[in-house]
């Protein structure tokens, strides 16, 4: 398939892997965090870690948008969904995320009208087709998906649609990275920077990471060769004693981002003073809400929201996993009490969460898997 296969070529991968291995200082342990869940997905889907030398460890970061939604927000959304005349809509990934009392799938089984959509515009379409109902879009995601939510609100406003609102859970990537950088037990050498988020925000917002914290960051695409190339670029920076922001994904990411998308976010949304992240706790200015000018599209203004806070289970060590302090298997409940069927913590929720990915794909030692496939 054009535009896909050329980024998955095994010969090129082998050549890159050889350069990566050559650049590794013997005996040094490198830990790089891929911030975005999409990268985690690519790494596991293609078995990319087979190409990395044992010195390099990839740590799966907080960039999985469904994983970071706190349980209280899921409960709030389910509360809205149970109100009479409400159709709740959200992306497919959201359906299985557990709140304090079950997930969207469970709420649906109990009678709530919850529908999976592929875009907020689909939710708006449902609103137009059901004028007697209140259609709520459970908006999730980083700056990647926030513009489409904002554009949908603008479209609803322009078309005078009054039975559509947004339950806004958009989060922003920079404060999350900063929270990780500021944690005292940080053990990361560099970042594989998110690709899709950067198509919107560009590369400049990361400059403080390289400048103030001395950590290289390479904005990276989502094909496996992109990620290998990014690892190489990071190792080159480390070998040369540099820490800079580089753009490996320049075929898609402009250095200054997408001004139109940013303007749409600015027009419709405003920063919340603080927002809770599953596993990471409250982070200041890390999330967006629908701004006052568009309050009539804000589900939090239209519906009474319980706003209850459900503490992360104490046995769960997702925070440490997200910060790269613990590996998934080092968590007390990993694989026994906490599994993909019965997730306790954020990292086990979606297939790209660090723990779910490790559980699904990493349960057997790479040596054993390699041995099994060699014969």
């Amino acid at each position: 398939m054009r535009f896909v296969d050329e980024y998955r070529d095994a010969d090129t991968a082998r050549a890159l892997a050889a350069r990566i291995t050559a650049l590794c200082e013997p005996g040094r342990a490198y830990k790089f965090m891929e911030v975005c869940g999409g990268h985690t997905h690519t790494i596991y889907k293609h078995g990319l870690e087979d190409y990395l030398p044992p010195e390099v460890t990839l740590v799966h970061g907080p960039g999985c948008p469904v994983c970071v939604i706190p349980m209280g927000r899921v409960d709030d959304a389910i509360h809205i969904a149970h109100q009479p005349g409400v159709i709740m809509t959200s992306f497919g990934d959201m359906m299985r995320v557990p709140g304090g009392d079950g997930s969207f799938l469970d709420a649906k089984a109990r009678g709530a009208d919850i529908r999976m959509v592929y875009s907020p515009l689909d939710a708006l379409k449902i609103a137009k087709e059901n004028p007697g109902k209140q259609v709520v879009f459970m908006a999730i995601g980083f700056e990647t998906t926030a513009p489409s939510t904002a554009m949908t609100v603008l479209r609803a406003h322009a078309e005078g649609i009054t039975n559509f609102s947004v339950f806004c859970n958009h989060v922003t990537i920079i404060p999350a990275i900063k929270a990780i950088l500021d944690s005292p037990d940080l053990r990361l050498d560099a970042f594989i920077g998110p690709g899709h988020v950067s198509t919107v925000i560009g590369c400049r917002p990361y400059e403080f990471i390289a400048r103030d914290y001395g950590k290289p960051l390479v904005v990276t695409g989502f094909e496996p060769l992109d990620i290998l190339h990014s690892v190489l670029q990071i190792l080159e920076q480390l070998a040369q004693g540099r820490s800079e922001v580089e753009n490996q994904y320049a075929r898609v990411v402009p250095w200054d981002g997408n001004p139109k998308a940013l303007a749409a976010i600015d027009e419709v949304m405003e920063l919340r003073p603080h927002f809770e992240w599953r596993g990471l706790g409250f982070i200041s200015h890390s999330a967006l809400k629908v701004g006052d000018r568009y309050a009539r599209y804000d589900a939090e203004q239209i519906f009474e929201i319980p706003g209850g806070r459900v503490a992360d289970p104490t046995s769960c060590q997702c925070g440490e996993v997200l910060k790269g302090v613990l590996k998934p298997w080092e968590c007390k409940v990993f694989g026994t009490a906490c599994t993909p069927e019965t997730p306790i913590g954020t990292c086990m929720v979606s297939s790209e969460g660090a723990c779910a990915a490790y559980y699904n794909f990493g349960r057997f030692t790479r040596e054993r898997v390699k041995e099994a496939t060699r014969r």
Partner: protein, 360 residues
């Protein structure tokens, strides 16, 4: 300091996890959710913890595509699909082919079917005629007769147009019994044709995705194809046949690996997938290995007859694109591993529920 690749502590944790995974599944949910119908882990635990628990008997316990009762194979299947009519078929074709295929996967020659209809008040009779015409044509093509049936009508809103339940009996003419537990290290794994066409066709036919592709469902009767394969090999050389319906090829391979306590290693670049299906899967973030087929099967055959089996499949129009996609190993038992086109390896696990599109 170099990080040790795996510590013995990690090995212990992994062993503990494997024990937990193999413990008897429990159904913790208070309500049935859609995940229970998706064919993955949730379905398996429901079957094991509710149905098998209530009905347990030696004929049911193998949990095959059908039961072997003496020289007879017996199976049943229910059909719910939206939309009822889609490119390449309709719920009528599915209802006949699905049950015919379950019998064929037992190694049986399908003979007689029953058909029960649950119809929603207000359902157009013209649609019903169209569905029954497809069923008649599919039955004729598969060489089976529909010999008994039932009709129920429920109030408007209590069903989605038309549901069909078919049961079938077939005759087991060959001495060897096929079983998901019969795969042995060294065996070859064959897929009979391009995968995922039915599932993607249905997703696109729902019209929610605004993706257009020239795809049709692969719904087809597999009895002839399966008989041709069985005839070409000696008795016992064909270990297992499974049609890759709900949950796709990945789910079937997992079931075989688990039942036979073997590892199955497959090669991503040999598994036949049409470019349109691959493209749609790429866009949606879905793995074609988990997408349903309605006219494709997975065969596990002894290594010495793998080429013969493949040649027999190639002779049949439904098996033209059949390929040997992998092999059975002894370790790690119960696991399906994929050698990726990119040159890596990964575990192909059962999904919990339906494959859900990813947002980013």
């Amino acid at each position: 300091m170099t990080e040790p690749t795996r510590t013995s502590l990690e090995e212990q944790v992994l062993l503990r996890i494997e024990r937990t995974r193999r413990s008897r599944p429990r159904v913790r949910d208070e309500h049935i959710t859609l995940a229970h119908g998706a064919g993955g882990k949730a379905t398996h635990s429901l079957i094991d913890a509710v149905f098998l628990d209530a009905f347990r008997n030696p004929l049911l316990e193998p949990l095959g595509d059908g039961a072997h009762i003496g020289e007879t194979a017996f199976t049943t299947d229910s059909f719910v699909v939206t939309p009822l009519f889609f490119p390449g078929g309709d719920i009528g074709d599915l209802a006949v082919n699905g049950t015919v295929n379950d019998l064929a996967m037992c190694g049986a020659r399908p003979r007689h079917l029953s058909a029960a209809f649950i119809l929603e008040e207000g359902f157009p009779v013209a649609h019903l005629r169209r569905i029954t015409a497809s069923m008649a044509a599919a039955a004729q093509a598969a060489g089976v007769q529909i010999v008994t049936g039932d009709t129920k009508v429920v109030e408007r809103g209590k069903a989605d147009g038309c549901y069909i339940i078919t049961s079938g009996v077939g005759t087991l003419d060959r001495p060897a019994r096929l079983s998901a537990a019969a795969a042995r290290p060294g065996d070859a794994v064959i897929v009979s044709g391009p995968i995922g066409e039915h599932g993607i066709t249905i997703m696109l036919a729902r019209g929610e995705l605004d993706i257009e592709a020239d795809l049709t469902s692969d719904t087809a009767p597999l009895a002839d194809l399966a008989a041709g394969l069985l005839d070409a090999c000696d008795d016992g050389q064909v270990r297992c046949l499974r049609d890759a319906t709900r949950g796709g090829v990945a789910t079937v391979l997992n079931e075989i690996a688990e039942a036979s306590k073997v590892a199955i290693i497959v090669n991503e670049d040999i598994i036949p997938v049409r470019p349109d299906v691959r493209g749609a899967c790429e866009l949606l973030g879905i793995d074609p290995l988990y997408v349903a087929c309605e006219g494709r099967m997975v065969a596990v055959v002894a290594r010495e007859c793998a080429e013969t089996a493949l040649a027999a499949l190639h002779e049949h129009p439904l098996g033209r694109d059949a390929a040997i996609v992998g092999q059975v190993n002894d370790d790690p038992p119960g696991l399906v591993l994929l050698k990726t086109t990119f040159g890596g390896t990964r575990i192909v696990d059962l999904l919990v529920g339906d494959p859900l599109p990813r947002i980013c």
